[in-house]
Protein backbone atom coordinates (compact mmCIF):
# COMPACT_ATOMS: atom_id res chain seq x y z
CA UNK A 1 0.00 0.00 0.00
CA UNK A 2 1.13 3.47 -0.84
CA UNK A 3 2.54 4.98 2.36
CA UNK A 4 1.25 8.44 1.58
CA UNK A 5 -2.31 7.11 1.47
CA UNK A 6 -2.38 5.64 4.95
CA UNK A 7 -4.76 7.29 7.40
CA UNK A 8 -4.38 7.55 11.17
CA UNK A 9 -6.61 4.83 12.63
CA UNK A 10 -8.05 6.97 15.43
CA UNK A 11 -9.24 9.62 12.99
CA UNK A 12 -10.91 7.01 10.80
CA UNK A 13 -12.60 5.42 13.84
CA UNK A 14 -14.08 8.73 15.02
CA UNK A 15 -15.18 9.54 11.47
CA UNK A 16 -17.04 6.23 11.35
CA UNK A 17 -18.87 7.15 14.56
CA UNK A 18 -19.73 10.51 13.04
CA UNK A 19 -21.06 8.88 9.89
CA UNK A 20 -23.11 6.43 11.96
CA UNK A 21 -24.65 9.38 13.78
CA UNK A 22 -26.12 10.51 10.47
CA UNK A 23 -26.90 7.07 9.13
CA UNK A 24 -28.63 5.50 12.15
CA UNK A 25 -31.69 7.80 12.23
CA UNK A 26 -32.23 7.11 8.54
CA UNK A 27 -32.01 3.38 9.15
CA UNK A 28 -34.43 3.85 12.04
CA UNK A 29 -36.95 5.47 9.73
CA UNK A 30 -36.56 2.73 7.16
CA UNK A 31 -36.92 0.09 9.85
CA UNK A 32 -40.00 1.64 11.42
CA UNK A 33 -41.75 2.12 8.09
CA UNK A 34 -44.53 -0.27 7.28
CA UNK A 35 -44.00 -0.74 3.60
CA UNK A 36 -47.29 -2.53 2.92
CA UNK A 37 -49.37 0.49 3.92
CA UNK A 38 -46.90 3.15 2.76
CA UNK A 39 -48.77 3.99 -0.40
CA UNK A 40 -52.02 4.31 1.50
CA UNK A 41 -50.48 6.47 4.23
CA UNK A 42 -49.03 8.82 1.68
CA UNK A 43 -52.24 9.23 -0.27
CA UNK A 44 -54.70 10.07 2.49
CA UNK A 45 -56.59 13.26 1.90
CA UNK A 46 -54.78 15.13 4.68
CA UNK A 47 -51.33 13.95 3.55
CA UNK A 48 -51.92 14.94 -0.05
CA UNK A 49 -53.24 18.33 1.00
CA UNK A 50 -50.19 18.90 3.20
CA UNK A 51 -47.84 17.75 0.46
CA UNK A 52 -49.45 20.00 -2.08
CA UNK A 53 -49.42 23.01 0.24
CA UNK A 54 -45.79 22.30 1.17
CA UNK A 55 -44.63 22.17 -2.40
CA UNK A 56 -46.61 25.21 -3.49
CA UNK A 57 -45.41 27.30 -0.57
CA UNK A 58 -41.80 26.12 -0.95
CA UNK A 59 -41.87 27.04 -4.64
CA UNK A 60 -43.31 30.43 -3.69
CA UNK A 61 -40.57 30.92 -1.09
CA UNK A 62 -37.91 29.89 -3.61
CA UNK A 63 -39.18 32.35 -6.22
CA UNK A 64 -39.32 35.10 -3.60
CA UNK A 65 -35.80 34.22 -2.43
CA UNK A 66 -34.46 34.46 -5.99
CA UNK A 67 -36.28 37.71 -6.77
CA UNK A 68 -35.25 39.45 -3.55
CA UNK A 69 -32.03 37.56 -2.89
CA UNK A 70 -30.32 38.08 -6.25
CA UNK A 71 -29.97 41.86 -5.92
CA UNK A 72 -29.02 41.41 -2.26
CA UNK A 73 -26.29 38.93 -3.13
CA UNK A 74 -25.02 41.26 -5.84
CA UNK A 75 -24.94 44.20 -3.43
CA UNK A 76 -23.08 42.13 -0.84
CA UNK A 77 -20.58 40.77 -3.38
CA UNK A 78 -19.97 43.97 -5.35
CA UNK A 79 -21.22 46.96 -3.40
CA UNK A 80 -18.70 49.06 -1.58
CA UNK A 81 -20.55 50.94 1.07
CA UNK A 82 -20.50 51.45 4.80
CA UNK A 83 -22.49 48.87 6.66
CA UNK A 84 -21.96 46.08 4.16
CA UNK A 85 -20.77 43.73 6.89
CA UNK A 86 -23.76 44.69 8.98
CA UNK A 87 -26.09 44.01 6.06
CA UNK A 88 -24.48 40.63 5.49
CA UNK A 89 -24.87 39.73 9.17
CA UNK A 90 -28.52 40.79 9.00
CA UNK A 91 -29.23 38.70 5.92
CA UNK A 92 -27.44 35.64 7.29
CA UNK A 93 -28.90 35.89 10.80
CA UNK A 94 -31.80 33.51 10.06
CA UNK A 95 -29.22 30.78 9.39
CA UNK A 96 -28.37 30.68 13.09
CA UNK A 97 -31.57 32.10 14.59
CA UNK A 98 -33.91 29.55 16.22
CA UNK A 99 -36.80 29.35 13.74
CA UNK A 100 -39.36 29.81 16.50
CA UNK A 101 -37.69 33.13 17.33
CA UNK A 102 -37.94 34.05 13.66
CA UNK A 103 -41.66 33.28 13.87
CA UNK A 104 -42.08 35.46 16.95
CA UNK A 105 -40.20 38.28 15.22
CA UNK A 106 -42.37 37.97 12.11
CA UNK A 107 -45.46 38.06 14.32
CA UNK A 108 -44.20 41.19 16.04
CA UNK A 109 -43.73 42.92 12.70
CA UNK A 110 -46.62 41.65 10.59
CA UNK A 111 -49.44 40.40 12.82
CA UNK A 112 -52.67 42.41 12.67
CA UNK A 113 -51.77 43.79 16.09
CA UNK A 114 -48.60 45.40 14.71
CA UNK A 115 -48.77 48.79 12.95
CA UNK A 116 -47.53 47.35 9.65
CA UNK A 117 -49.81 44.32 9.80
CA UNK A 118 -52.75 46.56 10.66
CA UNK A 119 -51.99 48.81 7.74
CA UNK A 120 -51.81 45.83 5.34
CA UNK A 121 -55.08 44.53 6.73
CA UNK A 122 -56.97 47.82 6.63
CA UNK A 123 -55.69 49.14 3.31
CA UNK A 124 -55.15 46.01 1.23
CA UNK A 125 -57.29 43.57 3.12
CA UNK A 126 -54.33 41.25 3.49
CA UNK A 127 -53.74 39.18 6.57
CA UNK A 128 -50.41 37.41 6.56
CA UNK A 129 -50.70 35.49 9.82
CA UNK A 130 -52.50 32.15 9.65
CA UNK A 131 -52.59 32.18 5.85
CA UNK A 132 -50.67 30.47 3.05
CA UNK A 133 -49.00 33.83 2.37
CA UNK A 134 -47.75 33.70 5.96
CA UNK A 135 -46.31 30.23 5.33
CA UNK A 136 -44.45 31.56 2.30
CA UNK A 137 -43.14 34.50 4.30
CA UNK A 138 -41.92 32.34 7.17
CA UNK A 139 -40.24 29.93 4.75
CA UNK A 140 -38.64 32.75 2.76
CA UNK A 141 -37.28 34.27 5.96
CA UNK A 142 -35.36 31.13 6.87
CA UNK A 143 -34.57 29.88 3.34
CA UNK A 144 -33.37 33.02 1.52
CA UNK A 145 -30.02 33.24 3.39
CA UNK A 146 -29.04 29.89 1.83
CA UNK A 147 -29.66 31.35 -1.61
CA UNK A 148 -27.90 34.63 -0.83
CA UNK A 149 -24.66 33.08 0.50
CA UNK A 150 -24.50 30.66 -2.43
CA UNK A 151 -24.94 33.40 -5.01
CA UNK A 152 -22.73 35.91 -3.21
CA UNK A 153 -19.82 33.48 -3.30
CA UNK A 154 -20.39 32.85 -7.01
CA UNK A 155 -20.66 36.57 -7.83
CA UNK A 156 -17.46 37.29 -5.92
CA UNK A 157 -15.75 34.71 -8.15
CA UNK A 158 -16.91 36.18 -11.46
CA UNK A 159 -14.10 37.59 -13.56
CA UNK A 160 -14.79 41.34 -13.62
CA UNK A 161 -13.15 41.61 -17.02
CA UNK A 162 -16.21 40.06 -18.71
CA UNK A 163 -18.37 42.83 -17.29
CA UNK A 164 -15.79 45.42 -18.24
CA UNK A 165 -15.69 44.03 -21.78
CA UNK A 166 -19.49 44.19 -21.94
CA UNK A 167 -19.46 47.80 -20.73
CA UNK A 168 -16.92 48.82 -23.36
CA UNK A 169 -19.23 47.27 -25.97
CA UNK A 170 -21.78 49.89 -24.96
CA UNK A 171 -23.98 47.82 -22.65
CA UNK A 172 -25.87 49.64 -19.88
CA UNK A 173 -25.25 48.46 -16.30
CA UNK A 174 -28.66 46.75 -16.32
CA UNK A 175 -27.81 44.94 -19.56
CA UNK A 176 -24.41 43.89 -18.20
CA UNK A 177 -26.14 42.54 -15.09
CA UNK A 178 -28.88 40.62 -16.88
CA UNK A 179 -27.01 39.46 -19.99
CA UNK A 180 -23.53 38.82 -18.59
CA UNK A 181 -23.28 38.74 -14.78
CA UNK A 182 -26.32 36.61 -13.99
CA UNK A 183 -25.84 34.11 -16.86
CA UNK A 184 -22.25 33.64 -15.67
CA UNK A 185 -23.56 32.49 -12.28
CA UNK A 186 -26.62 30.64 -13.60
CA UNK A 187 -25.37 27.39 -12.06
CA UNK A 188 -25.21 28.98 -8.63
CA UNK A 189 -28.63 30.57 -9.02
CA UNK A 190 -29.96 27.06 -9.57
CA UNK A 191 -27.90 25.57 -6.74
CA UNK A 192 -28.92 28.30 -4.30
CA UNK A 193 -32.53 27.92 -5.44
CA UNK A 194 -32.51 24.18 -4.77
CA UNK A 195 -30.98 24.73 -1.34
CA UNK A 196 -33.57 27.38 -0.50
CA UNK A 197 -36.37 25.10 -1.75
CA UNK A 198 -35.17 22.22 0.42
CA UNK A 199 -34.87 24.45 3.46
CA UNK A 200 -38.32 25.98 2.84
CA UNK A 201 -39.91 22.57 2.42
CA UNK A 202 -38.66 21.44 5.82
CA UNK A 203 -39.50 24.67 7.64
CA UNK A 204 -41.30 24.04 10.90
CA UNK A 205 -40.72 26.46 13.77
CA UNK A 206 -41.22 29.80 12.07
CA UNK A 207 -44.17 28.49 10.08
CA UNK A 208 -45.92 27.12 13.15
CA UNK A 209 -45.39 30.33 15.11
CA UNK A 210 -46.27 32.80 12.37
CA UNK A 211 -48.79 30.96 10.18
CA UNK A 212 -50.17 28.44 12.65
CA UNK A 213 -51.19 24.87 11.97
CA UNK A 214 -54.49 25.04 10.15
CA UNK A 215 -55.25 21.88 8.23
CA UNK A 216 -55.61 22.55 4.51
CA UNK A 217 -54.54 26.18 4.88
CA UNK A 218 -51.21 26.41 6.67
CA UNK A 219 -50.50 22.82 7.62
CA UNK A 220 -47.39 21.83 5.69
CA UNK A 221 -45.81 18.36 5.70
CA UNK A 222 -43.47 18.91 8.65
CA UNK A 223 -46.34 20.23 10.77
CA UNK A 224 -48.46 17.29 9.70
CA UNK A 225 -45.69 14.89 10.67
CA UNK A 226 -45.43 16.45 14.11
CA UNK A 227 -49.18 16.13 14.73
CA UNK A 228 -49.37 12.59 13.36
CA UNK A 229 -46.62 11.51 15.74
CA UNK A 230 -49.26 11.77 18.49
CA UNK A 231 -52.15 10.14 16.65
CA UNK A 232 -50.69 7.90 13.94
CA UNK A 233 -46.93 7.28 14.30
CA UNK A 234 -46.91 4.94 11.32
CA UNK A 235 -48.21 7.69 9.04
CA UNK A 236 -45.71 10.10 10.59
CA UNK A 237 -42.88 7.76 9.60
CA UNK A 238 -44.32 7.42 6.09
CA UNK A 239 -44.47 11.20 5.61
CA UNK A 240 -40.99 11.56 7.12
CA UNK A 241 -39.68 9.15 4.54
CA UNK A 242 -41.31 11.25 1.85
CA UNK A 243 -39.54 14.36 3.16
CA UNK A 244 -36.24 12.47 3.29
CA UNK A 245 -36.76 11.37 -0.31
CA UNK A 246 -37.45 14.92 -1.46
CA UNK A 247 -34.40 16.24 0.42
CA UNK A 248 -32.21 13.51 -1.06
CA UNK A 249 -33.58 14.40 -4.48
CA UNK A 250 -32.56 18.00 -3.90
CA UNK A 251 -29.05 16.90 -2.88
CA UNK A 252 -28.69 14.76 -5.99
CA UNK A 253 -29.84 17.67 -8.12
CA UNK A 254 -27.23 19.82 -6.36
CA UNK A 255 -24.41 17.36 -6.85
CA UNK A 256 -24.07 18.35 -10.46
CA UNK A 257 -24.81 22.02 -9.96
CA UNK A 258 -23.25 22.83 -6.64
CA UNK A 259 -19.71 23.18 -7.84
CA UNK A 260 -20.55 24.64 -11.21
CA UNK A 261 -18.81 27.94 -11.60
CA UNK A 262 -19.12 29.80 -14.84
Amino acid sequence: MNRTRRFPVAVVAVAVVGAAFFALPLFGLLQRARWSTLAHDLTTHAALAALRLSIECAIGATVLSIVLGTPLAWLLARGEFRGRRLLRALVLLPLVLPPVVAGVALLAAFSVHSPLGQLLHDVLGVQLTFSAAGVVMAQTFVAMPFYVITLEAALAGVDHRYEHAAATLGASPWRVFTRVTIPLVAGSVAAGGVLAFARALGEFGATLTFAGNISGRTQTLPLDVYLLLETDPRAAVALSLLLVAISLGALVALRDRWLVRA
Binding site: R161, Y162, L169, G170, A171, R179, A186
Partner: protein, 307 residues
Protein backbone atom coordinates in the same frame (compact mmCIF):
# COMPACT_ATOMS: atom_id res chain seq x y z
CA UNK B 1 3.06 51.99 -8.48
CA UNK B 2 5.75 53.56 -10.62
CA UNK B 3 5.32 57.05 -12.05
CA UNK B 4 4.30 56.97 -15.65
CA UNK B 5 4.83 60.05 -17.78
CA UNK B 6 3.96 59.48 -21.40
CA UNK B 7 2.64 61.76 -24.11
CA UNK B 8 2.19 60.94 -27.79
CA UNK B 9 -0.13 61.59 -30.74
CA UNK B 10 -2.38 58.89 -32.16
CA UNK B 11 -3.84 60.31 -35.38
CA UNK B 12 -6.91 58.80 -37.09
CA UNK B 13 -6.20 56.00 -39.54
CA UNK B 14 -2.78 55.42 -37.98
CA UNK B 15 -1.81 52.38 -35.94
CA UNK B 16 0.46 53.46 -33.09
CA UNK B 17 2.29 50.68 -31.29
CA UNK B 18 3.37 51.08 -27.69
CA UNK B 19 6.39 48.84 -27.63
CA UNK B 20 8.42 48.00 -24.58
CA UNK B 21 9.56 45.31 -22.18
CA UNK B 22 7.11 43.63 -19.82
CA UNK B 23 6.25 45.84 -16.89
CA UNK B 24 7.24 49.06 -18.64
CA UNK B 25 3.77 50.55 -18.08
CA UNK B 26 2.34 50.11 -21.58
CA UNK B 27 -0.92 48.51 -20.45
CA UNK B 28 -1.33 51.12 -17.74
CA UNK B 29 -1.10 53.80 -20.43
CA UNK B 30 -3.73 51.97 -22.47
CA UNK B 31 -6.09 51.71 -19.49
CA UNK B 32 -5.62 55.40 -18.79
CA UNK B 33 -6.59 56.19 -22.38
CA UNK B 34 -9.65 53.94 -22.12
CA UNK B 35 -10.75 55.63 -18.89
CA UNK B 36 -10.19 59.15 -20.17
CA UNK B 37 -11.84 58.72 -23.59
CA UNK B 38 -15.25 60.21 -24.22
CA UNK B 39 -15.49 58.57 -27.62
CA UNK B 40 -16.67 54.98 -28.12
CA UNK B 41 -13.66 52.82 -27.32
CA UNK B 42 -13.15 49.37 -28.80
CA UNK B 43 -10.93 47.24 -26.55
CA UNK B 44 -9.23 43.97 -27.28
CA UNK B 45 -7.19 42.00 -24.78
CA UNK B 46 -4.69 39.19 -24.61
CA UNK B 47 -7.53 36.92 -23.48
CA UNK B 48 -10.43 37.04 -25.90
CA UNK B 49 -12.91 37.45 -23.01
CA UNK B 50 -15.75 36.13 -25.12
CA UNK B 51 -18.84 35.63 -22.96
CA UNK B 52 -18.71 31.89 -22.30
CA UNK B 53 -22.48 31.43 -22.12
CA UNK B 54 -23.15 32.98 -25.52
CA UNK B 55 -22.58 31.66 -29.03
CA UNK B 56 -20.01 33.29 -31.30
CA UNK B 57 -22.78 35.18 -33.10
CA UNK B 58 -24.39 36.36 -29.83
CA UNK B 59 -20.99 37.60 -28.74
CA UNK B 60 -20.36 39.53 -31.93
CA UNK B 61 -23.91 40.93 -31.98
CA UNK B 62 -23.71 41.95 -28.29
CA UNK B 63 -22.50 45.48 -28.94
CA UNK B 64 -23.73 45.79 -32.52
CA UNK B 65 -26.66 47.90 -33.67
CA UNK B 66 -28.40 44.81 -34.96
CA UNK B 67 -27.95 41.08 -35.26
CA UNK B 68 -27.36 41.48 -38.98
CA UNK B 69 -24.39 43.73 -38.29
CA UNK B 70 -23.04 41.02 -36.01
CA UNK B 71 -23.61 38.39 -38.68
CA UNK B 72 -21.82 40.54 -41.27
CA UNK B 73 -18.76 40.97 -39.03
CA UNK B 74 -18.58 37.28 -38.28
CA UNK B 75 -18.65 36.75 -42.03
CA UNK B 76 -15.84 39.27 -42.55
CA UNK B 77 -13.52 37.45 -40.16
CA UNK B 78 -14.39 34.25 -42.04
CA UNK B 79 -16.10 32.46 -39.17
CA UNK B 80 -19.75 32.38 -40.26
CA UNK B 81 -19.62 28.62 -40.00
CA UNK B 82 -19.05 28.97 -36.25
CA UNK B 83 -22.00 31.31 -35.58
CA UNK B 84 -23.63 28.82 -33.22
CA UNK B 85 -20.43 27.66 -31.52
CA UNK B 86 -19.72 28.35 -27.86
CA UNK B 87 -16.36 30.09 -27.23
CA UNK B 88 -14.86 27.09 -25.43
CA UNK B 89 -15.19 25.02 -28.61
CA UNK B 90 -13.22 27.57 -30.68
CA UNK B 91 -9.46 27.47 -31.14
CA UNK B 92 -7.39 30.29 -29.67
CA UNK B 93 -7.00 31.99 -33.03
CA UNK B 94 -10.69 31.68 -33.89
CA UNK B 95 -11.71 33.03 -30.50
CA UNK B 96 -9.43 36.04 -30.91
CA UNK B 97 -10.90 36.73 -34.37
CA UNK B 98 -14.43 36.50 -32.95
CA UNK B 99 -13.32 38.94 -30.24
CA UNK B 100 -12.00 41.26 -32.94
CA UNK B 101 -15.30 41.01 -34.81
CA UNK B 102 -17.19 41.72 -31.58
CA UNK B 103 -15.08 44.82 -30.92
CA UNK B 104 -15.45 46.17 -34.47
CA UNK B 105 -19.16 45.33 -34.69
CA UNK B 106 -19.79 47.78 -31.84
CA UNK B 107 -18.64 50.54 -34.22
CA UNK B 108 -15.86 52.02 -32.05
CA UNK B 109 -14.36 55.44 -32.75
CA UNK B 110 -10.96 54.44 -31.41
CA UNK B 111 -9.34 51.03 -31.01
CA UNK B 112 -7.18 49.99 -28.08
CA UNK B 113 -5.50 46.59 -28.35
CA UNK B 114 -3.62 45.16 -25.37
CA UNK B 115 -1.22 42.39 -26.46
CA UNK B 116 -3.89 40.88 -28.72
CA UNK B 117 -1.59 38.16 -30.04
CA UNK B 118 0.46 37.33 -26.96
CA UNK B 119 -1.65 34.37 -25.84
CA UNK B 120 -1.57 32.60 -29.21
CA UNK B 121 0.89 29.91 -30.18
CA UNK B 122 3.49 30.81 -32.78
CA UNK B 123 1.77 29.38 -35.87
CA UNK B 124 -1.65 30.82 -35.03
CA UNK B 125 -0.10 34.17 -34.18
CA UNK B 126 1.18 34.64 -37.72
CA UNK B 127 -2.25 33.96 -39.23
CA UNK B 128 -4.18 36.11 -36.77
CA UNK B 129 -1.60 38.90 -37.14
CA UNK B 130 -2.22 38.89 -40.88
CA UNK B 131 -5.99 39.17 -40.39
CA UNK B 132 -5.55 41.81 -37.73
CA UNK B 133 -3.38 43.81 -40.13
CA UNK B 134 -6.12 43.74 -42.74
CA UNK B 135 -8.80 45.01 -40.36
CA UNK B 136 -6.57 47.60 -38.70
CA UNK B 137 -5.59 49.11 -42.05
CA UNK B 138 -9.30 49.43 -42.91
CA UNK B 139 -10.14 51.09 -39.60
CA UNK B 140 -10.66 54.83 -39.95
CA UNK B 141 -10.08 55.95 -36.36
CA UNK B 142 -6.90 55.99 -34.28
CA UNK B 143 -5.56 52.63 -33.11
CA UNK B 144 -3.22 52.13 -30.18
CA UNK B 145 -1.61 48.72 -29.94
CA UNK B 146 0.33 47.57 -26.89
CA UNK B 147 2.89 44.87 -27.56
CA UNK B 148 6.24 43.58 -26.40
CA UNK B 149 6.81 41.77 -29.70
CA UNK B 150 8.69 43.84 -32.31
CA UNK B 151 7.18 41.67 -35.05
CA UNK B 152 3.71 42.90 -34.07
CA UNK B 153 4.94 46.46 -34.35
CA UNK B 154 6.63 45.73 -37.65
CA UNK B 155 3.58 44.13 -39.28
CA UNK B 156 0.75 46.10 -37.70
CA UNK B 157 1.98 49.55 -36.77
CA UNK B 158 2.65 52.71 -38.73
CA UNK B 159 4.34 54.41 -35.81
CA UNK B 160 6.12 53.05 -32.79
CA UNK B 161 6.36 54.58 -29.34
CA UNK B 162 8.98 52.83 -27.21
CA UNK B 163 8.15 52.88 -23.50
CA UNK B 164 10.68 51.81 -20.89
CA UNK B 165 10.21 52.14 -17.14
CA UNK B 166 7.23 54.43 -17.55
CA UNK B 167 8.83 56.84 -19.99
CA UNK B 168 9.05 57.20 -23.75
CA UNK B 169 12.61 56.48 -24.83
CA UNK B 170 12.01 56.79 -28.57
CA UNK B 171 9.25 57.27 -31.11
CA UNK B 172 8.97 57.30 -34.87
CA UNK B 173 8.46 54.88 -37.72
CA UNK B 174 9.90 51.45 -37.23
CA UNK B 175 12.53 52.17 -39.89
CA UNK B 176 13.68 55.27 -38.04
CA UNK B 177 13.87 53.38 -34.79
CA UNK B 178 15.69 50.45 -36.30
CA UNK B 179 18.23 52.75 -37.97
CA UNK B 180 18.94 54.77 -34.85
CA UNK B 181 18.08 52.89 -31.67
CA UNK B 182 18.11 55.23 -28.70
CA UNK B 183 18.27 52.64 -25.95
CA UNK B 184 19.84 49.30 -25.23
CA UNK B 185 16.38 47.71 -25.21
CA UNK B 186 15.70 48.85 -28.77
CA UNK B 187 19.20 47.92 -29.91
CA UNK B 188 18.81 44.40 -28.54
CA UNK B 189 15.38 44.18 -30.10
CA UNK B 190 16.69 45.04 -33.54
CA UNK B 191 19.77 42.90 -32.91
CA UNK B 192 22.58 45.43 -32.96
CA UNK B 193 25.25 46.74 -30.57
CA UNK B 194 24.64 50.19 -29.14
CA UNK B 195 27.45 52.31 -27.76
CA UNK B 196 27.42 55.76 -26.21
CA UNK B 197 30.33 58.13 -26.60
CA UNK B 198 31.81 61.43 -27.71
CA UNK B 199 33.23 62.21 -31.17
CA UNK B 200 35.99 64.62 -31.97
CA UNK B 201 36.60 64.63 -35.71
CA UNK B 202 37.03 60.98 -36.61
CA UNK B 203 37.78 59.78 -33.09
CA UNK B 204 34.96 58.18 -31.10
CA UNK B 205 35.70 57.83 -27.40
CA UNK B 206 33.37 55.28 -25.84
CA UNK B 207 31.69 56.13 -22.55
CA UNK B 208 34.12 55.31 -19.77
CA UNK B 209 37.06 56.64 -21.75
CA UNK B 210 38.93 53.33 -22.07
CA UNK B 211 38.38 52.76 -25.77
CA UNK B 212 38.73 55.03 -28.74
CA UNK B 213 37.51 53.96 -32.17
CA UNK B 214 38.11 55.50 -35.57
CA UNK B 215 34.97 56.32 -37.51
CA UNK B 216 34.41 57.30 -41.12
CA UNK B 217 32.40 60.51 -40.84
CA UNK B 218 33.56 63.59 -39.01
CA UNK B 219 31.46 64.96 -36.19
CA UNK B 220 31.82 66.75 -32.88
CA UNK B 221 29.77 65.97 -29.80
CA UNK B 222 27.89 63.28 -27.91
CA UNK B 223 26.73 60.40 -30.08
CA UNK B 224 25.16 57.00 -30.08
CA UNK B 225 26.91 54.44 -32.25
CA UNK B 226 25.71 51.11 -33.59
CA UNK B 227 27.88 48.25 -34.75
CA UNK B 228 26.14 45.31 -36.39
CA UNK B 229 27.14 41.94 -34.86
CA UNK B 230 28.22 40.70 -38.32
CA UNK B 231 30.53 43.69 -38.79
CA UNK B 232 33.01 42.61 -36.12
CA UNK B 233 35.64 40.05 -37.06
CA UNK B 234 37.62 37.89 -34.65
CA UNK B 235 41.21 36.62 -35.00
CA UNK B 236 43.54 34.52 -32.92
CA UNK B 237 46.46 36.89 -33.59
CA UNK B 238 46.93 40.56 -34.20
CA UNK B 239 46.42 41.44 -37.86
CA UNK B 240 49.01 43.60 -39.52
CA UNK B 241 48.23 45.60 -42.63
CA UNK B 242 44.48 44.80 -42.70
CA UNK B 243 41.86 47.30 -43.83
CA UNK B 244 40.07 47.43 -40.50
CA UNK B 245 40.96 50.67 -38.70
CA UNK B 246 39.97 49.41 -35.29
CA UNK B 247 41.56 46.46 -33.57
CA UNK B 248 41.64 45.51 -29.91
CA UNK B 249 42.54 42.59 -27.63
CA UNK B 250 39.82 40.99 -25.52
CA UNK B 251 38.37 37.77 -24.17
CA UNK B 252 35.27 35.75 -25.03
CA UNK B 253 32.65 36.09 -22.26
CA UNK B 254 30.38 33.37 -23.65
CA UNK B 255 29.17 31.78 -26.87
CA UNK B 256 25.53 31.07 -27.84
CA UNK B 257 25.17 28.65 -30.70
CA UNK B 258 22.22 29.31 -33.04
CA UNK B 259 22.52 26.49 -35.54
CA UNK B 260 24.82 27.49 -38.40
CA UNK B 261 25.66 30.79 -36.71
CA UNK B 262 26.83 31.69 -33.24
CA UNK B 263 26.70 34.81 -31.11
CA UNK B 264 29.89 35.59 -29.26
CA UNK B 265 29.71 37.98 -26.33
CA UNK B 266 32.98 39.85 -25.88
CA UNK B 267 34.34 40.89 -22.50
CA UNK B 268 35.70 44.32 -21.48
CA UNK B 269 36.74 46.82 -22.70
CA UNK B 270 33.99 46.73 -25.39
CA UNK B 271 31.21 44.28 -24.47
CA UNK B 272 29.97 43.74 -28.03
CA UNK B 273 27.93 40.87 -29.43
CA UNK B 274 29.62 39.38 -32.49
CA UNK B 275 27.94 37.07 -34.96
CA UNK B 276 30.19 34.45 -36.60
CA UNK B 277 29.70 31.13 -38.35
CA UNK B 278 29.79 27.94 -36.32
CA UNK B 279 32.75 26.91 -38.50
CA UNK B 280 34.64 29.96 -37.26
CA UNK B 281 33.81 29.07 -33.67
CA UNK B 282 35.41 25.66 -34.18
CA UNK B 283 38.39 26.97 -36.14
CA UNK B 284 39.21 29.68 -33.62
CA UNK B 285 38.19 27.34 -30.74
CA UNK B 286 36.02 30.11 -29.32
CA UNK B 287 34.83 29.33 -25.81
CA UNK B 288 34.51 31.25 -22.61
CA UNK B 289 37.81 32.86 -21.57
CA UNK B 290 39.63 32.48 -24.89
CA UNK B 291 41.76 35.50 -25.84
CA UNK B 292 41.02 37.02 -29.25
CA UNK B 293 41.71 40.06 -31.36
CA UNK B 294 38.56 41.85 -32.53
CA UNK B 295 38.44 44.28 -35.40
CA UNK B 296 35.86 46.48 -37.08
CA UNK B 297 36.08 48.80 -40.04
CA UNK B 298 35.52 52.48 -39.48
CA UNK B 299 32.74 52.41 -42.10
CA UNK B 300 30.84 49.77 -40.11
CA UNK B 301 30.35 52.12 -37.16
CA UNK B 302 27.20 54.20 -37.56
CA UNK B 303 27.04 57.29 -35.38
CA UNK B 304 24.21 59.72 -34.80
CA UNK B 305 23.65 62.46 -32.27
CA UNK B 306 22.54 61.14 -28.91
CA UNK B 307 21.90 62.52 -25.47
Amino acid sequence: MRDIDVSFDAPPGVVTALLGPNGAGKSTVLRAIADAETRRVGLMFQDHLLFPHMTALDNVAFGARSRDVGRAWLERVGLSAFAGAKPRTLSGGQAQLVALARTLAADPEILLLDEPLAALDAGTRVAVRRDLHKFLSEFAGPTVLVTHDPVDAYVLADRVVVIEAGHITQQGTLDEITARPASRYVAEMVGTNLLRGVVEGLRLTIEGGLVTLTIAEEFDGAVLATIAPEAVTLHRDVTVGGSARNQWFTRVAHVDSLGPRARVQLDAPLPLVVEVTTAAVEELRLTRGVEVWASVKATEITTYPGL
